[in-house]
């Protein structure tokens, strides 16, 4: 049994605080195929999907991007604490001004010609990963009056099985925008919410150059059963 059966960890599909869910959340209840996972195998990605250079987002341009340089480290584990090895982890984020290098983002903040905001790694033998990047900025969005997203980094993980696929967002500690962010607060359990916040870990940084942050990610078991919403 997954802990996700016992605790409301994931946000509901229909969450009125995030307006566009009203158009996209299914109206019919999701169908349970218990007690079996839908599939126990999952895609396995080779090294060619994540070149070593893709772990450093600050060397993409001709010179260094603007912003506060940071190192993000962490481990990917399953519910039993076992490392999830050789697993593709994709990361994307806006620049220090709060603008994504993406055609859909029309926010009136400058693009940084030296920052694309995209990184990929395969996790190591202990499930570990390390990115070099800059701290993303906050940005406004049109969800409601005075809506601003807190600084966050998007993460997409495949795990080692179909049930382990997860897409999430990582937030920063003590951000005053967290209490008013509907996305952060769509996770119903306050303790679960805190597991989306990274921790300052100075010694993972680079002295006189970059701050260090740690963010460990727990995937559910490869053979865990489907869960409620």
């Amino acid at each position: 049994m997954s802990a996700r059966d016992a605790i409301e960890i994931d946000p509901p599909y229909d969450f009125p605080g995030y307006k566009s869910t009203a158009l996209r959340a299914p109206k019919q209840p999701l169908i349970r195929v218990a007690p079996h996972p839908l599939e126990i195998a999952g895609p396995a990605f080779s090294r060619s999907f994540a070149k070593e250079s893709e772990a450093d987002l600050t060397t993409w341009g001709k010179s260094a991007p603007l912003g506060e340089k940071m190192i993000l480290v962490g481990r990917v584990l399953d519910e039993d604490g076992k490392p999830v090895r050789n697993s593709l982890l994709e990361l994307w984020q806006c620049n220090a001004s709060g603008r994504y290098a993406h055609p859909v983002d029309q926010h009136n903040a400058p693009l940084d010609p030296n920052f694309l905001g995209q990184g990929k790694v395969l996790t190591g033998d202990n499930g570990e990963y390390r990115f070099v990047t800059i701290k993303p900025g906050a940005y406004p969005w049109r969800n409601h009056p005075w809506a601003w997203r807190p600084a966050h980094i998007h993460l997409s993980l495949f795990g080692n099985a179909y049930a382990q696929r997860i897409i999430t967002q990582m937030f920063f500690p003590a951000d005053p925008l967290l209490p008013i962010d509907p996305i952060f607060n769509s996770v119903p359990d306050p303790e679960a919410r805190q597991r989306m916040v990274c921790k300052l870990d100075l010694e993972q940084g680079i002295e006189e150059e970059a701050l260090g942050y740690r963010f460990d990610i727990v995937l559910r078991g490869a053979k865990s059963t489907p869960t409620g919403v």
């Binding site: 599909y13 299914p26 079996h36 195998a41 859909v104 179909y162 897409i167 990610i217 053979k223």
Partner: protein, 206 residues
Amino acid sequence: MGKFVPTPSCTVGPFFPAHYFGPNDNDLTVTSNAAGASSKRAQGTKIYIAGTIYEADRVPRWNSIVEFWQADASGHFAHPNDPESSKADPDFMGWGRRASEDDGYYDFITVKPGGYKDPLTGLVRAPHINVSIMGSGLMRRLVTTFFFPDEPANAGDPVFNAIPDAKVRERIILKPAKFPRAPADALCYRLDIVLQGEDETPFFLD
């Protein structure tokens, strides 16, 4: 219950990098950007699957991310959880991804998957494709499964039959179709994905 509590899911949002879609990521018959940079083609019957993704009120939904995950033509996965993984087609990875276009259109080129006996349950799975949909306004991925028409094994498939209503089951059976964009040598199927409303696609707990 495990020792550690899983990290919550959060919406993919609208800004998933366009660069993460490789030129052949929606062609599962090509492994050139996957393991081994092989120029060989996957074994099996080439098929083309396309359709439109709709949100409420039949409005086409653009910028949705669709992922395919399936067995190879003989029903094997190149994955340690498949006890017969050594028989898996080395030129087939089984995974693909693309974003829906401005008019909600999505398409994949792949091979028809084989059925197999699920190693965990011993139940026979009909040929099928696991489909995940992600996007802004979707808090987590939505998962469904595509099945093939006129497939006797559908009658015993545990996922297909988890849907109690036969009319609803019809909504995840691929329909023979023709598309101008399909490769000439592919069998073509259509399946629209309706996130919400009339003829809503059945989605599974994940």
